[in-house]
């Protein structure tokens, strides 16, 4: 009897600790972002200026756009390694189009219109090939998209012969350098896409089908979900997003280098998705989380840069961040 009384209170703190980890697992990204913002406020000069805000938002926009497409792919239980290479292809095609190297241009605006659409459609088509490999041949997504990760950058380099394409085209570069109500255009673009994706995931049949496919593919198929079509579509969307991001990046830089555009972007995008709380095994898609995840990565990069920490150490910090986020996710999972 006495023993029982003495033992009884013991489980309480254990359960409380569990809820703290659960809380962190669910809202860890937001907490991390808040901590980082505070840290930036205290430790770096001039953090609360419009300029700093603009710089950070400009830099994060590309990652967010790619990571949105990646979120849907991951939600189906897949992964898309080809996004960085697709960005390079879009970045290689666009200048050739508005400079009139591919087709003769009747008027300059035709070139800009082509440059804003054709590259994105091209990367969307390549995304369809990813999806086709995954569904038609049931090739694992890592391998299927590895093909275009390797070949895609090669294609971009072959198109441009590996040369840097420098250009000045104000009409085209609106997407990278233009401003609307004081904020860069690509920030508005990013915000609009986040909204659209959030609505798609929450409100549309397609969004639910994506989650169903990732949650339990066999059950989804039995319930009449067109699994193959849904999967192909998410890879197409991921390709389209990568194309848009590629255009934004070259517009900001006023140059396109097929060797560098989008290099390592797949890692940043996957990290943003994972930190944002979308489980990599599929079945969940947290669009807001992905946005927060991308911001966390950007803030870490910014703070380390502002404090003069070498890039190399920043890489190590990023690695720790990814591991910490994924480990926390595991703790929060029931059972």
């Amino acid at each position: 009897m006495l023993e029982r009384v003495a033992v009884a209170p013991a489980p309480a703190p254990v359960r409380r600790r569990a809820t703290i980890t659960e809380f962190l697992a669910r809202h860890g990204a937001v907490v991390a972002l808040a901590v980082l913002l505070l840290l930036a406020l205290v430790a770096t000069p001039n953090f609360l200026s419009l300029r700093t805000l603009t710089v950070n938002l400009t830099q994060v926009a590309g990652i967010v756009v790619v990571a949105l497409g990646m979120t849907l792919v991951v939600a189906t239980g897949g992964i898309d390694l080809s996004v960085g290479s697709l960005m390079a292809i879009a970045g290689a095609l666009a200048p050739m189009l508005f400079l009139g190297q591919l087709v003769p241009l009747p008027a300059p605006w035709v070139g800009v219109a082509l440059a804003l659409t054709v590259p994105v459609l091209a990367t969307g088509a390549l995304g369809w090939i990813n999806g086709w490999l995954v569904t038609r041949y049931r090739i694992q997504p890592i391998v299927a998209t590895l093909v275009l990760l390797i070949a895609g950058r090669g294609i971009a380099q072959v198109i441009t012969n590996g040369n840097l394409q420098a250009f000045r085209n104000p009409a085209f570069q609106v997407i990278g350098l233009g401003r609307l109500l004081g904020l860069p255009v690509q920030v508005w673009l990013m915000a609009a896409l986040v909204l659209v994706f959030a609505l798609v995931v929450r409100r549309t049949l397609f969004g639910r089908q994506v989650l169903a496919v990732g949650g339990n593919e066999r059950a989804a198929r039995l319930a009449g979900v067109p699994v193959a079509r849904v999967k192909r579509l998410v890879y197409v969307i991921s390709g389209l997003c990568a194309g848009v991001a590629g255009l934004v990046v070259i517009a900001i830089n006023s140059a396109s280098d097929a060797n560098l555009v989008g290099l390592g972007m797949e890692l940043d995008a996957i990290a943003a998705v994972a930190v944002g709380g979308t489980v990599l095994s599929g079945g969940r898609a947290r669009i807001g989380g992905t946005l927060v995840g991308a911001l966390v990565i950007q803030m870490v990069r910014y703070i380390l840069l502002a404090l003069g920490v070498p890039d190399a150490a920043a890489l190590v910090a990023k690695a720790g961040l990814i591991i910490g986020a994924v480990w926390l996710q595991r703790q929060g999972r029931p059972g």
């Binding site: 049931r138 890592i142 391998v143 380099q157 072959v158 890489l315 690695a319 591991i323 994924v326």
Partner: protein
């Protein structure tokens, strides 16, 4: 041998064509080269081919074991770069300390992968991705963002540039590693446990196999082999290079897949992995010869396009041969 091992543990054996297709393709490509180019089998070409591609062969071997266990190791390229820096820094003390430093750096990274995958149960894809970033950062920090010259007085460069009995030293190292890998996979219990783990981890655990030990072993081996490749890299080019190794993991994965090892794990072969690595290297070699004839001029950039297409052809063929092509398609 390994096929029967896989079958015994319920793995699906590929038809012979899938498994030895790569050897046939390698033979055909060599015949093509011999028939078309004058100096294809010349000592200079063969030796420099082996010297250079031994590094990739070593990395591919480690990757093959990791993939057979159902995992993946994305960190090998960055770990090789780290190994090259570490061994270059230590090469002044003698060739042995230089070699040990490279191997040690690789082993350390491999053990880190082991901790993340086995202890923290983080998906191999993410865990090794993080190690890749960390190794990349450490290499840059150690090297101070520059390439590190190796010592030429201690005989360290022999590891990459030397010859022994008519073959380059790196080729001997790779041959030894592949022989050892083949023995481990086909003869030892560890090899069977690796295959069983990849075939079905839960089942292997229920059978009482030491799954965790097998996983530790494959990641440690993959890291160490990448470190070895790094030491060879430093010795061959006279410098530890913190930014080398980009894309090596892709080469290794491609070589393993081309070599007929299923990416789902549970089945694979050491010998055909070597054939896969040689095949991918040979594509580049033949591209060089073709350019030399002057009829076409394909830039080096075509290399990755061709490799990608090759990988595509192989995975599609693998999918068809193993009868996994989807019937559900709409």
């Amino acid at each position: 041998m390994s096929a029967s091992g896989a079958r015994a543990f319920g793995g699906r054996a590929l038809p012979l064509a899938g498994r030895y297709g790569v050897v046939a393709a390698l033979a055909l490509l060599i015949l093509f080269g011999v028939a078309r180019y004058d100096y294809f089998l010349g000592a200079f070409n063969v030796l420099s081919f082996l010297r250079y591609n031994s590094m990739f062969a070593l990395v591919s071997l480690g990757m093959a074991f990791v993939i057979m266990s159902g995992g993946i190791d994305l960190s090998v390229g960055a770990v090789a770069a780290l190994g090259s820096v570490a061994s270059a820094l230590a090469s002044g003390l003698g060739w042995a300390p230089g070699l040990v430093a490279g191997l040690g750096a690789g082993l350390g990274a491999g053990l880190l992968n082991g901790v993340l995958v086995v202890r923290l149960r983080i998906a191999p894809f993410i865990a090794t991705l993080a190690t890749m970033l960390a190794a990349n950062g450490c290499a840059l920090l150690l090297a101070n963002n520059e390439s590190v010259s190796v010592s030429y007085d201690t005989g360290f460069t022999e590891i990459g540039q030397g010859d022994w009995l008519g073959l380059p030293v790196p080729a001997w190292i790779a041959l030894l590693a592949y022989a050892a890998g083949s023995v481990v996979l086909n003869v030892t219990g560890l090899g069977r446990t690796v295959l069983a783990t990849g075939g079905g981890e839960d089942a292997a655990r229920l059978m009482g196999l030491r799954v965790d030990r097998a996983k530790w072993a494959v990641y440690a081996a993959s890291g160490t082999l990448a470190g070895m490749a790094g030491a060879i890299l430093a010795a061959q080019f006279g410098a530890g290079q913190p930014i080398e190794g980009v894309g090596w993991e892709l080469f290794a994965i491609a070589a393993v897949v081309v070599g007929g090892t299923l990416l789902t794990g549970g089945e694979g072969s050491v010998g055909t992995t070597l054939a896969g690595a040689l095949l991918l290297g040979l594509i580049f070699n033949i591209l060089n010869f073709e350019n030399g004839r002057g009829f076409i001029s394909l830039s080096a950039y075509w290399q990755s396009v061709i490799r990608g297409l090759f990988l595509l052809a192989v995975v599609v063929m693998q999918a068809k041969l193993s009868g996994r092509a989807a019937a559900q398609d709409t």
